[in-house]
């Protein structure tokens, strides 16, 4: 009997019975949640209801998505006999439960207890030495997107580390750009979507690019030219919480709606640079769309002139990454949205605001 009522209303000739049918009025009763997020979400945030409910305990997670935006790990710096800079990093892989959306816990595999892993930042030509300790329950690697020898590739058979063991990856930071690292153990999909990835940024060395030394200096962390930039790292990712090979949560830097509930504060007078990395598993592409503005884009960050100019959306396949540069100097203060332009991802957590002051 129940089955016979499961029908498309278009199949029924007669009229609906059961009194007048009311349209949506948008009224709110006490049984329903209050209009959350309306105080900061501005006119763009529909009515502030299309969002995860509640708050994530960042302290328990051990990392704050806002701190993560500008948390560069420059390593332990020393000088090699030949005068080059040596940067030494230590990365420990641990199994950890991460609250990726309020109340929703994901049994993750992480680098250093956070997703994305530490943003390793170096300068073009530096010697890189990474001591990788596997304190997790499965074999892992660190596979860098960069230039290195086969022995240092971080794949099964070359730098794969069993639980409880250690391996040292060593190579030169080449080429300059916005890169990433991730685990390359098999099964690959599982090792990546469980959380083993992070950004690897190589700043250009101005001395090597005399014709564009000013641009290179603005990219080189620590220079006065770089100081006036507001730089953020954003790793676009997703989480398949029920392991059906489809993501239940999408975000930048893991926490759904983290930058929607608390927008990223930017100063209008200073330009903005975003190191954008896509590691989203299962979906062929992810994208970044900026509201009310356009940006210049450097695909892979390996050039000092933009590969795309004046665009407001870029599309990235998995492991594709790039640098976005834009400014809100001529805009009025307010909240400016950014999100994937796959609306599916937006509605599942990948969306945020810049608070331009």
């Amino acid at each position: 009997m129940i089955e016979r009522f499961r029908l498309n209303r278009r199949a029924v000739l007669g009229l609906g019975i059961g009194g007048a049918l009311m349209p949506w009025f948008g009224a709110r009763g006490s049984e329903y949640p209050d209009k959350a997020g309306s105080d900061h979400a501005g006119a763009h945030a529909s009515d502030g209801m299309m969002m995860t409910a509640g708050e994530v305990d960042h302290e328990r997670n051990g990392f704050d998505p806002h701190a993560l935006l500008t948390d560069w790990d420059r390593g332990e710096v020393s000088r090699l006999p030949d005068g080059r800079t040596l940067r030494e990093y230590e990365v420990v892989a641990v199994d950890k439960e991460i609250e990726i959306a309020p109340g929703l816990f994901f049994p993750a595999w992480t680098y250093r207890g956070r997703i994305p892993g530490p943003t390793l930042r170096a300068t073009e030509g530096d010697r890189i030495r990474i001591r990788f300790v596997n304190a997790g329950s499965h074999a892992h690697t660190m596979h860098f997107h960069g230039i290195h020898s086969a022995r240092m590739d971080g794949v099964p058979g070359a730098g794969q580390v069993s639980p409880g063991e250690t391996f040292v990856y060593e190579f030169d930071a080449e080429p300059f750009g916005c890169h990433l690292y991730h685990c390359h153990s098999v099964p690959l999909k599982r090792h990546i979507h469980k959380g083993l990835y992070g950004a690897f940024i190589v700043d250009p060395d101005p001395a090597r690019h005399p014709d564009r030394a000013d641009v290179a200096r603005s990219r080189l962390l620590g220079t006065p030219e770089n100081d006036r930039w507001q730089e953020f790292v954003m790793v676009m990712n997703g989480f398949d919480t029920n392991f059906d090979e489809e993501n239940e949560v999408y975000a930048v830097n893991s926490i759904a709606h983290a930058y929607q509930t608390k927008p990223i504060r930017i100063e209008r007078r200073l330009p903005v640079r975003i190191y954008l990395v896509n590691v989203t598993e299962f979906d062929p592409v992810n994208s970044f769309h900026l509201h009310a503005n356009f940006f210049d884009y450097y695909d892979h960050g390996t050039t000092l002139t933009p590969t795309l100019t004046t665009v407001d959306t870029v599309m990235l396949c998995q492991a594709q990454r790039g640098i976005l540069e834009f400014s809100y100097a001529d805009h009025e203060p307010g909240q400016y949205m950014f999100h994937a332009h796959q609306t599916e991802f937006v509605e599942l957590g990948w969306m945020g605001f810049f608070e331009a002051v």
């Binding site: 009997m1 129940i2 089955e3 016979r4 009522f5 499961r6 029908l7 498309n8 209303r9 199949a11 029924v12 000739l13 007669g14 009229l15 609906g16 019975i17 059961g18 009194g19 049918l21 009311m22 349209p23 949506w24 009025f25 948008g26 009224a27 709110r28 009763g29 049984e31 329903y32 949640p33 959350a36 009515d47 502030g48 209801m49 299309m50 969002m51 995860t52 409910a53 509640g54 959306a101 309020p102 109340g103 929703l104 816990f105 994901f106 989480f239 919480t241 029920n242 059906d244 239940e248 759904a256 709606h257 599916e344 509605e347 599942l348 957590g349």
Partner: protein, 385 residues
């Protein structure tokens, strides 16, 4: 006496010790089995109003369920849970989402537990859930009258016509009633199974239907067979009306429930279909009365007993729909119908035996039975879209 108390208390005491020992030793860990906390949740019901969507959820896993998030059509949505907090096994709560649902369209709801497990529910055709108002109650009552009372009342009006058909006519009518009841029995069990499967697993819905049916049958059989010999005439008519009434209660429950959960876009076509479909029920009730005159008070009583439960069912289904209760009702209905079949069968058998020259199963009886089943099946075309 001491021995008695000891033997009464020893088994539960021993069980308590065994359970304590189990948790102390944890044999599953010896086997290397350490299952992670598993969350299981049933979404039993969705209510739609001007303010959004309400979901009635019930935890069914051994471990408590913490509801983390809710998605509607693949979008996270703010919600409020009442009562708040984790839900232990069997416990239910309401989730309310201010979601701007679209009338007449389909919506997919997904509840996510703290472990990331997902529980899906589909609102097939979004319609505003009836509010508890006089207008609504009247509407449902009228629906019940059309589905239950009207067809029975009209069907019973065949009484004088069949009466004129004589002995053969009576046999035919009784056999037709038997066929009708057989159809209703299968239909009721099938509905019960359908609802039972939608109930939370801990209620063991399908089993509930069988058990409720069996117990009802046995109870009614014991109660009514204290006197010797099968029932006949007016008493048998009351029995049949009672069985049909329980079936119509189930039918009402399903109609009301489907409307309430926004699944039914029940059209005038369907309602009239049920009226025609259930016309045969009236004939069934009239069949054992062919040798007596039908008093109008009895007529009204029989119609009310068989037909009014449809209205009651529609109300219950619309305002207090729960698949496990509905499954239980249908199980009881099936048991009652089976008992009525036994009574009608016995009466028919006695009638046939009285006839000296007849076979064990006379042609008229077989034809009547077949006619009952076929008519119900054929008119069923009108109630399935």
């Amino acid at each position: 006496m001491k021995r008695f108390w000891f033997s009464l208390l020893a088994p539960p005491l021993g069980l308590g010790i065994a359970i304590a020992a189990y948790f102390a030793v944890e044999p599953l860990s010896l086997l290397g089995v350490s299952p992670p906390p598993a969350e299981q949740l049933m979404i039993e019901l969705a209510k739609l109003d001007e303010q959004g969507i309400g979901l009635k959820v019930r935890a069914t896993s051994a471990d408590p369920v913490r509801i983390a998030q809710v998605q509607v059509d693949g979008a996270y949505w703010q919600f409020r849970q009442k009562p708040e907090g984790p839900l232990s096994r069997g416990e239910s709560a309401w989730l309310r989402l201010p979601y701007p649902w679209v009338q007449g369209e389909t919506h997919h709801v997904r509840v996510i537990g703290s472990t990331g497990a997902t529980f899906d529910y589909t609102i097939e055709v979004a319609e505003k859930t009836p509010a508890f108002s006089l207008r609504q109650i009247t509407g449902y009552g009228l629906l019940g009258l059309y589905v239950g009372v009207l067809p029975v009342a009209l069907g019973m009006l065949f009484h004088p016509a069949i009466r004129r058909a004589g002995r053969r006519g009576l046999e035919f009518a009784l056999a037709l009633t038997l066929g009708l009841l057989a159809f209703l029995l299968l239909d009721t069990i099938q509905e019960g199974m359908e609802l039972g499967r939608r109930a939370a697993p801990l209620f063991q819905g399908p089993l509930l239907v069988w058990l409720a049916g069996a117990l009802t049958f046995l109870a009614l059989f014991t109660l009514t067979r204290r006197r010797s010999g099968p029932e006949r005439g007016l008493t048998l008519a009351w029995y049949i009306a009672f069985g049909i009434g329980l079936h119509n209660l189930g039918e009402g429950l399903a109609i009301g429930g489907s409307l309430a959960v926004g699944e039914a876009a029940l059209g005038a076509f369907l309602v009239i279909g049920f009226t025609i479909h259930n016309l045969t029920e009236g004939v069934g009730i009239a069949a054992p009365l062919l040798e007596e005159r039908l008093r109008w008070t009895h007529y009204v009583g029989l119609v009310a007993l068989a037909g009014l439960p449809a209205s009651v069912g529609t109300w219950l289904g619309a305002y207090a729909f729960a698949p496990h209760w509905s499954a239980l009702c249908l199980g009881i209905g099936a048991g009652a119908i089976l008992q009525v079949m036994v009574e009608v069968g016995a009466f028919l058998k006695r009638r046939v035996a009285r006839d000296p020259g007849s076979r064990l199963v006379p042609g008229t009886a077989l034809a009547g039975f077949a006619a009952g089943v076929v008519v119900m099946y054929a008119t069923g075309f009108l109630t399935h879209v």
